[in-house]
Structures are given as C-alpha cells and as structure tokens.
Symmetry: C2
Subunit: 256 residues, 2 copies
C-alpha cells in the first residue's frame, strides 16, 4: 500500500549528514512505492520566529495573544501562506519524519520555529475548540505516524540510560510526547546516529544503510505506548491515576 511521507529537516550545510539522511529516506521510501514531500527549512528560508507578522488579520489589533490569533487565523484561513503550505503537507502525510542534529539537547531553532508556527490552535491544540479536552492520543493530527531522527556529535554512552547527558528517550520526551503525541500522532521510537563528529565515509554509509533498512518496515512498527489522555489512565484528564505506576513519578510514568 502506497503511503505519503513528509520529511522535515534542518541543517545549514547542504551536504550535512542531516541532508544525507533525508535523501536516503526519500530514496528508500520511493523505492518501496511511497510518495515523499520535503521541508528543507534552511533552503526554504523558513521564518523561525513567531511575531505579529504571522497574523495579518487580528482579533485584537492592540495586544498579541498567540493562542487567540493562531486560533482565529487557522479557523478563518488567514494565516500566512508559508504556514498554510506546511499544514497542507502535514495533513497529506501518513508519516512525518523530523530529521535534525541535536543542538543543546533539542531542536535547532529553525525547526523549533517550524513547530511554534505550524502547530496552530485548532489543528495541533485546542482541537474542536474544546481547550485541553482532546490531546495526547487524539487531536487534529491523529491517524498519522511520526518520528524523530537525530544525529549527535557526542558518543552513544553519553546518552545511555545512565549517561551523563541524560537518557536519550527522556531528553526527547518534550518532542516525542509533547509535540508529536499531543496532537494525536502515533510516535515511533526515535532514530539516532551518535558520535558523528568523528565519522568517516564508511560510518556515514552504515548510518544511512541502517536507516533505509528500518524504513522498509516503518508502517508495521508498533508505536511507543504513551498513555492516551482519554483512555482512562488520567481520570481527571490531568494527573495519572494513583493505581498506575504507583509511587512513581517523572516522564516515564506516561508510557505503559
């Protein structure tokens, strides 16, 4: 079955490993009969910063509420064309891949700015105008798969379960759970290539090969078992039930 994939990638160097990973993914997916669109944020000159220019038609021309203007702009089709184009690409996709170098344990600013601007109220939050009622497992982007694919300069040991940088899955939780699962996407385990600051050509090829191999089965993978807000695990929609992961706390309690 042919699916459609959106690859969003962010690196200022056009020959970067980030770009090579995006190219490898597109090639592998096309060879498997899928279709692919790309958002190469640097090549697009993506505007990273949310400001008043994002909302040409305002509810309140005096004081800027990002939530209110995002909701108004989305509902009335009056957001800027660059954001609207990304909405169309997102909504056409069965799988969304975010490919980036981990900079200071998060996304490069240009990609964070893609989230900040494209994750509009009414689409990625405030689903059906109902505030926080529909989130984490349902929402405007439900029915889609998503995953984070990163490269790091530092070694895998630094990101291991007891590694000094912090365990990778917990470092990425604000992205995987907070940005991708929140609006309803099924999130697959993150792809990581470590230690790239000392990579030779063979290591680059090995990383691309492993990525292509994984992508061959990407639509059969089971997603990360994050708990849905409205599946019963959060009786008040805010706090995990006492009976689940009893006595525990922190990011990991939100995974079954």
């Amino acid at each position: 079955m042919s699916r459609h994939v959106l690859i969003v990638h962010a690196h200022p160097e056009p020959t970067s490993l980030t770009r090579q990973m995006a190219d490898a993914a597109e090639q592998a997916l096309r060879e498997d009969g899928h279709t692919v669109s790309r958002s190469d944020l640097h090549a697009m000159g993506w505007k990273a910063v949310v400001d008043a220019d994002d909302f040409p038609s305002r509810v309140d021309p005096e004081r800027l509420s990002v939530v209110a203007e995002s909701g108004h702009g989305y509902a009335t089709g009056q957001l800027t064309e660059d954001v609207a184009a990304e909405h169309r690409k997102l909504l056409a996709a069965d799988l969304v891949i975010l490919q980036f170098p981990l900079w200071w344990f998060g996304m490069p600013a240009i990609l964070k700015g893609w989230i900040d601007r494209v994750w509009s109220y009414g689409l990625a939050y405030g689903h059906q105008g109902a505030g926080n009622r529909h989130r984490y497992g349902e929402g405007g982007l439900s029915g889609r798969r998503a995953l984070v694919s990163i490269t790091t300069g530092g070694p895998a040991s630094d990101y291991s379960p007891r590694g000094i940088n912090g365990e990778l899955d917990e470092l990425l939780f604000p992205i995987t759970h907070g940005m991708l699962f929140y609006p309803g996407m099924s999130v697959l385990r993150s792809q990581a290539v470590f230690g790239t600051s000392r990579f030779d050509a063979a290591q680059v090829e090995a990383a691309k090969h492993a990525w292509r191999e994984r992508l061959a089965g990407i639509f059969e993978e089971s997603p990360i078992a994050y708990r849905a807000q409205n599946g019963g695990d959060y009786p008040d929609h805010h706090v995990l039930a006492d009976t689940l992961a009893p006595g525990q706390h922190g990011l990991r309690v939100h995974q079954r």
Copy 2:
C-alpha cells in the same frame, strides 16, 4: 554586595506577562543594589537561525561545520557583533535569568536561537580546546548562577510529578542541565507561573510579587545538586558509577 544580573527574555507582545516578569525582576534587583542588563530578543530583532552568515571568516569556506567555525570565530574574535555583544553581557553577569513562555514544552525558537548562536565553542563547550573534558560543573561560564523562569498557559497539575505533560523539572532538564550546568553555571530551581491563560490582574500581581520576594534571597540559594562530571561520580566521564543510584536510570540520576 552588589552583583550584576543579565535577564534574557523572549515574547513577541511588549506588554506580555513575560515582559512584566522581566521588568519586576529588574526593579527588585536594582532596589537591592544590583545592576541589571537585559536582552529583549524580540525588541533586538535577534537572528534566531545559525547559518553561514554567522561565520564571516571561515576555516573551511566550502563545507560548513558549525563546531569548527564557532571555535575558530570565537578564538579569533571574528564572530558577528550581535553574538560578541551577548558574550560580553554573559561574562559580566553573576546571575543569568532566562524568562520565557513555555511553548511546546521548550523555549520559543528565538530563545533557542540565542543559545544556538551564543553558546560558542571555546566558551560554552570545548573549554580550553579539550573537547568534552571540562563540562557539567566546570567550563567557560563557571562562577555564575543561572535560572529558568517560565510561564505556562496550562495548569500546575499538568506539570506535577505525575501530571500528563510530564514533571516540570524533567521537561526542563535539557535546559537546566544541558544548557546551563553544562558550561559550568550553578543552576537554581526553576521559577514557574502556571495557568496564565486565565489570569486576572490580581493573579498577575501575585506572580510578580512572589518573584520579587524570591529574588531578594537569590544569591543565598543553594543550587540544584547536579553531579559534576569530574567530581568522581562519572569514572569514565560518560556514565554514572554503578555504585551511585544503583539500578536506576533516566534524567534524575544526575542529581545527588
């Protein structure tokens, strides 16, 4: 004793609560005899995106390595003037406050771009040209205090130890540990104002009052007890010793 404080803040609305918290902090600190500088990123028109324009004098004009060019530019004083000005402000500060609205569980892109561009190799990482040898508790920004001060639209329960968004201190770990402790700063507990989407004027005043009260003792607070890389807890400088927090894993093992 008079100290110098740098407040970096990011919100597109000039009358935002973010701006009001920054103003309240400056006023309180000045009344206590301290000096204050500000980086109001939107007012400055801060360039958020790392790209080739950041490195007017290149080691390699063909292929852009951010690490290599950042190190070269910093060592030779050839970074752009906007970045150099922030370096001077940082190095003059005894305390650095990052004030921002939590957007998608992290910094707004403009602030992430301040980190991406200002945290240069040779200053914030690669201390003394020794790769990862000096980090987490020592480094180019040691001797300074730092803290994150955030506002959230959503309620405190969502960020509580078992709250659905994830426990706040763990969501902020990539910032507090990864961006602030990494280059050597002593990190104070984060300041958080929750539920701002429904705030009335009295709640705004209460939030500013609590912030001013805290700042009165800010130079006497004990920092978060993150483990130093070179204090013995990481025998190989990468992975926590088996004898510490035995059998545990994840972000919290890096705090004593």
